[in-house]
Symmetry: C2
Subunit: 314 residues, 2 copies
């Protein structure tokens, strides 16, 4: 299983990299104290801020910004909601001051009335070309190279890799295969309710303007139980929204590992996380060590961040 080539070339030699390499090497060493049976090798990753850039707003919020005008034209009463109003005004400052759930509401509303297939096509039409306002390249160029290496390394070592995201499950599925090698059935996320309809083209699922699950904090653990039916052994997050999932992962029997990515890299990405209103990182940052969660510094632990680093950070 183990080759002589470094499976994590984007990671600097240091405590974090060494701990990950040791954990995985032990997990596949049958008979050893760190062995994890193949069926139990489940790794869960948050998406926004853990696998790709979420600053100054999550990608799906930018998508909603682009979509929400259409909705407000259909239903002007939506403008009474602060998040919708701020969306339409492009008022990022107000959006950043609102609770995460409020800000995500217009994002989920942009699903409503479409079939799942229509939503996918619509989201991809935007994702294939939309650009990050500060990084000067497409959003889909902003996944983290060291994390992609880690996902590959885990899979090569027999782990099933899952995304457990506060973002919409259908939105993330549009890019999960291409960006992370993760199939749709291994993406767990927030969801709107759906309705089965039988029309001229057969059965289709139509998305309703009603939140099914907001996959954040405790709800991430509930959804892991619902979808996976067992505790992961490896988890990675970047905010207080991931803390329950990380602690739940560490709470089982046998070898376990959980990490926080700390956004402290103002040069190559952004240094923002503790005070990020849309997904704060306070309790987790203050208590990581106490809970047994490792801290990965983007600045110090990664020698690369994005695949296209030179493309012009604004």
């Amino acid at each position: 299983m183990q080759s002589t080539a470094d499976p994590l070339p984007g990671w600097n030699d240091g405590k974090a990299k060494a701990a990950i390499l040791d954990f995985v090497a032990a997990a596949i060493r049958e008979g050893g104290p760190g062995y994890v049976a193949p069926a139990e090798r489940i790794a869960v990753f948050d998406n926004d801020g853990t696998l790709w850039c979420e600053f100054p707003l999550q990608v799906q919020v930018f998508f909603a910004l682009a979509e929400v005008k259409r909705l407000a034209q259909q239903d002007p009463s939506l403008l009474q909601k602060p998040a919708f109003k701020a969306f339409l005004a492009g008022d990022v400052k107000t959006l950043m001051s609102l609770p995460k759930k409020d800000v995500f509401e217009p994002a989920f509303a942009t699903h409503a009335g479409m079939t799942v297939e229509e939503f996918h096509a619509n989201a991809w039409r935007w994702l294939r070309q939309a650009e990050h306002p500060k990084l000067g390249r497409r959003f889909i160029a902003n996944s983290y190279v060291p994390q992609r290496e880690l996902l590959d390394y885990l899979r090569t070592s027999g782990f099933k890799t899952y995304i457990v995201t506060g973002g919409g499950v259908e939105f993330v599925r549009v890019v999960a295969g291409q960006l992370y090698g993760i199939p749709p059935e291994q993406v767990i996320g927030s969801s709107t309710r759906m309705k089965l309809e039988t029309g001229p083209e057969g059965m289709v699922l139509r998305k309703l303007p009603e939140l099914g699950s907001f996959d954040d904090r405790d709800e991430k653990v509930v959804n892991i139980a619902l979808h996976l039916g067992r505790r992961p052994v490896f988890a990675f997050g970047n905010s207080d929204g991931d803390l329950a999932m990380l602690r739940y992962t560490l709470g089982g029997q046998g070898p376990r590992m959980a990490w926080y990515l700390h956004h402290d890299d103002a040069e190559r990405e952004f240094a923002y996380d503790r005070d990020f209103r849309l997904s704060a990182f306070n309790e987790g940052l203050d208590h990581a060590a106490e809970y047994g969660i490792g801290l990965v510094s983007m600045k110090n632990d990664w020698n690369r961040v994005f695949a296209e680093e030179g493309d012009g950070r604004a």
Copy 2:
């Protein structure tokens, strides 16, 4: 991939077996017209009546019969509900006359207040020894050998096999590995709501006395979309509760196949399905051909039903 040995020895030579063998052989023949890309090889199976015996009541209903006394002692007001009353009286006739959802309600209630781990232990304590009232052997001996062969055959051919059951997801997960080789993360089912609690032994999930999803009819399709994010290409059911799932499976592009198991074998199992109040098979039976769903006759298409056939059918 294909060996000379018959992968389905429990199936009699005939139309159904030939069609399955042809479909799977074509699915793995790259470049051929029936080819299905590995990632798309998703097969879904109902459980009750499709993978194991569900007559005269679903196994989980028998489990609830054994458990419900404890609940009624805690909350006597439950006795005002006809299903609870019939449960306590062991009144199978009344239970068989009630709608499926009502009958399953006490079953879901038997989850409430336990942690997921406690529920598993409790269910297994019962399942490991409880006997079917008519077949004269344990419930867990009543899975269908030809279906286990089919699941194995599909997996050998690169299919991911899923259970999509009206039964409780946690209940079915207790036996899915042992009986069908299906891991917990490939079981989709009805569910109660859960709550994350942090106690002295760390984080646990406690089941609430509140139905989350009743995974029957249209809801099976909704849950497939939520969990899998794509249409299966192969589906197997046995009642009208599976019809939406079978039609949804057939409604996609490319090669697809869907089957109904017809319970017409009064000798080796039971001939009961059309009028089975707890899970009727009327529309599906009448319109299977029109919808393109194949019909498997237990009596004619299977040369075995159970692993321990000789053990004494009452």
